[in-house]
């Protein structure tokens, strides 16, 4: 088992390396660089900027070094947890990201939790009581979720909230806690603000999990081993959870990692629509400003998040399914 985990972690290293290159290339791809767009912005405002100042800015951010040099300098820093300096904020990327990262992660993880918490029981119910009213309701909700991406739902929520309360600023904290130091009250306040965006993000995922859980379980319920287990005299409920559920859940556990990129995408769009101060608006801004170390840092961190997610779900799967362990 430990060997399996070790192997799996070692396998992550080349992926991580490839990802750092991909992130870097993506960030470098837009024409021009930060100084170009900075100058263009200044000029657009009618400000004047000297050639020397431009040159000194370039030198300050080493923008004229060859790409390889910059990549290795950047990646070397990343390995030590230093993502470089944001040119736009003139501040360490790491600290800017760390300011907002917790909120992005909280929303994403909370929505992941909601997806599984709601999706699995409803999926089971709908499979066990196939063709019942429950099943039809769950299936319909599943279809609605399938067709309604989070950001449309967020837009809809925004409108409903505004029509009801005349105020659509959701935010992450109530005003009295905004600048306040951390306290129990502030945590509760945060949770009160998080569940709405998290459930919006979770909606599509939940709908698809219901469908998957239902289909998998229905498949398993027809397998001969279920009848064998009934022939032993087991109680239906005991049987359900010991056998078909255990097996139907395997592919779903291995999906955890693969649901993360989707949830992160959802979280970003929902945050943009609801105007939440998470990584998403920061990322959009950094892209627009060509503040590449910041943008690259965000891509890298989010990707690392999904990599760790797949790692965890692979390990979980190996723990519960002997067949996986023996294969690798």
């Amino acid at each position: 088992m430990y060997r399996f985990i070790l192997r799996r972690i070692l396998l992550m290293i080349p992926t991580l390396f490839a990802l750092s290159i991909i992130s870097f290339i993506i960030i470098q791809a837009p024409p021009g660089d930060f100084v170009d767009s900075y100058v263009a912005r200044l000029r657009a405002q009618g400000d004047y900027i000297e050639e020397e100042r431009i040159e000194s800015l370039r030198a300050q951010y080493s923008l004229d070094d060859p790409m390889m040099t910059r990549y290795f300098r950047w990646f070397g820093g990343v390995l030590r947890g230093n993502f470089g300096v944001s040119m736009n904020y003139n501040q360490a990327v790491t600290s800017i990201i760390l300011d907002r990262l917790p909120y992005s992660f909280l929303i994403t993880l909370l929505s992941l939790f909601l997806v599984y918490l709601i999706g699995i029981p409803i999926g089971i119910l709908s499979a066990v009581k196939q063709y019942s009213a429950w099943d039809y309701i769950a299936t319909t909700v599943g279809f609605i979720g399938l067709g309604t991406p989070g950001f449309l739902l967020a837009l809809l929520m925004l409108w409903i909230l505004y029509s009801l309360t005349g105020n659509a600023a959701i935010g992450l904290f109530s005003t009295e806690y905004l600048g306040a130091p951390w306290s129990w009250g502030k945590v509760v306040d945060l949770i009160n603000h998080l569940w709405l965006p998290a459930s919006i993000v979770a909606f599509t995922g939940t709908a698809s999990l219901i469908r998957t859980m239902r289909a998998n379980l229905l498949d398993e319920l027809e397998k001969p081993y279920v009848m064998v287990a009934r022939a032993k005299g087991l109680k239906n409920l005991t049987l359900l959870f010991k056998y078909p559920f255990r097996i139907a859940i395997n592919p779903i556990i291995s999906m955890i990692g693969w649901t993360l990129p989707g949830l992160i995408t959802g979280e970003m769009l929902v945050s943009l629509v609801l105007g939440l101060p998470t990584l998403a608006p920061l990322f959009l801004e950094s892209l627009r400003m060509e503040d590449m170390y910041l943008a690259g840092g965000i891509v890298f961190v989010l990707t690392l998040f999904t990599l760790v997610g797949t790692l965890v779900s692979d390990i979980l799967l190996a723990v519960i399914d002997i067949r996986i362990r023996e294969e690798t």
């Binding site: 027809e222 009848m227 519960i320």
Partner: protein, 336 residues
């Protein structure tokens, strides 16, 4: 002869609902099982053999239902009517696996792939033991050893995919017998294992029957298996018993045209060279079983106006030999 009946099925009807309509999988089946005997049930694929077995244990799939008839289980002078029990009732569950247990056709898919063999056997023992101090694991190992499983104390912790087909079938038998049931139903126990293992599995089952004093129902469509292992045979066609007799009488003087056709359609092992005669026609659609005798559409001795209108009644050829056929209706005293 004085024989104690352990299981009595009378006029059983089990139907399935499906999109296309109702399947009358078992359609008026009656038979008895005596103490310590091996009863064979033969018939073509789809004639309702497995559904009969599932009805006895009341473990039909969701769309299936016993619509009428009785299944009665006799134990130590008491009788329990299985058909009156709810499928999920405590009484029903305490019969399954303890009094009546079953071996299934597919040893591969009959075990859960993510649990050890031991886990799945111990579970039955723990479920039905009267005394919580009984060491379920020891009993499971013991049972595996009894089935001739090599290294039983190691195999018990193996997963099904580590075992060969023959070993899995042994484990299956060990699981079914782990609570010393009174009745063992084996639904095509040898179809999925290769020929060399077939004989082993069959003789193992017979050994176990002697060891544990139980009655066995062997379901098969292989007349060879029937001839080798059973004491009595019931021939089924489209949900009904056509003929029931001791194995000797059945092969020696089959009465029902279907039984005759069935016997003529398989090669004899005795060395006589006879022409094989396939049964003409095809099995009718189970959604639409013909009226009267279900076999009349393929029967060489079809009597128009009789066989296609009325259901044939039971005729006793001898004490141990009954046939449901109009051809023999007036040969002996009629019953029922």
């Amino acid at each position: 002869m004085d024989k104690n009946t352990v299981l009595e099925i009378s006029d059983l009807h089990t139907h399935f609902k499906s999109k296309e309509g109702t399947v009358r999988a078992v359609d008026g089946l009656s038979l008895s099982l005596y103490e310590d005997e091996v009863l064979g049930i033969v018939g073509e694929s789809g004639c309702g053999k497995s559904v009969t077995a599932q009805s006895i244990l009341n473990i039909l799939p969701k769309n299936g239902k016993i619509v009428s008839g009785q299944i009665t289980y006799f134990n130590k002078g008491q009788s329990q009517e299985i058909t009156s029990l709810l499928p999920e009732s405590k009484e029903m569950r305490s019969i399954r696996g303890k009094e009546i247990s079953m071996i299934f056709q597919e040893p591969m898919t009959s075990f859960s792939p993510v649990h050890t063999i031991g886990n799945q056997i111990v579970e039955v023992v723990e479920l039905h033991r009267d005394d919580a101090t009984i060491d379920a694991r020891a009993q499971a190992i013991n049972m595996l050893e009894l089935t001739g499983m090599p290294n039983a104390s190691e195999i018990i912790d193996a997963y099904p995919h580590n075992l060969s087909g023959g070993m899995r079938q042994r484990a299956m038998i060990a699981m079914a017998l782990s609570c010393h049931p009174k009745i063992l139903i084996a639904d095509e126990p040898t179809t999925a294992v290769d020929v060399t293992i077939q004989a082993q599995v069959l003789s193992l089952m017979l050994d176990m029957r002697n060891e544990l004093n139980m009655s066995v129902i062997i379901i098969t469509h292989d007349l060879g298996v029937v001839a080798e292992t059973t004491d009595r045979v019931a021939v089924m066609y489209l949900g009904k018993v056509m003929e029931i007799a001791t194995v000797y009488e059945l092969f020696d003087s089959p009465k029902h045209p279907y039984t005759q056709a069935l016997i003529n359609s398989v090669p004899k092992t005795s060395g006589e060279i006879t022409k094989l005669v396939p049964i003409t026609g095809t099995v009718p659609n189970p959604y639409n079983i013909p009226a009267g005798c279900p076999f009349h559409t393929r029967c060489p001795d079809f009597i128009p106006g009789v066989c296609d209108e009325e259901s044939p009644i039971k005729t006793n050829i001898s004490a141990d030999h009954q046939v449901w056929c109009f051809k023999h209706a007036d040969e002996k005293k009629q019953e029922n």
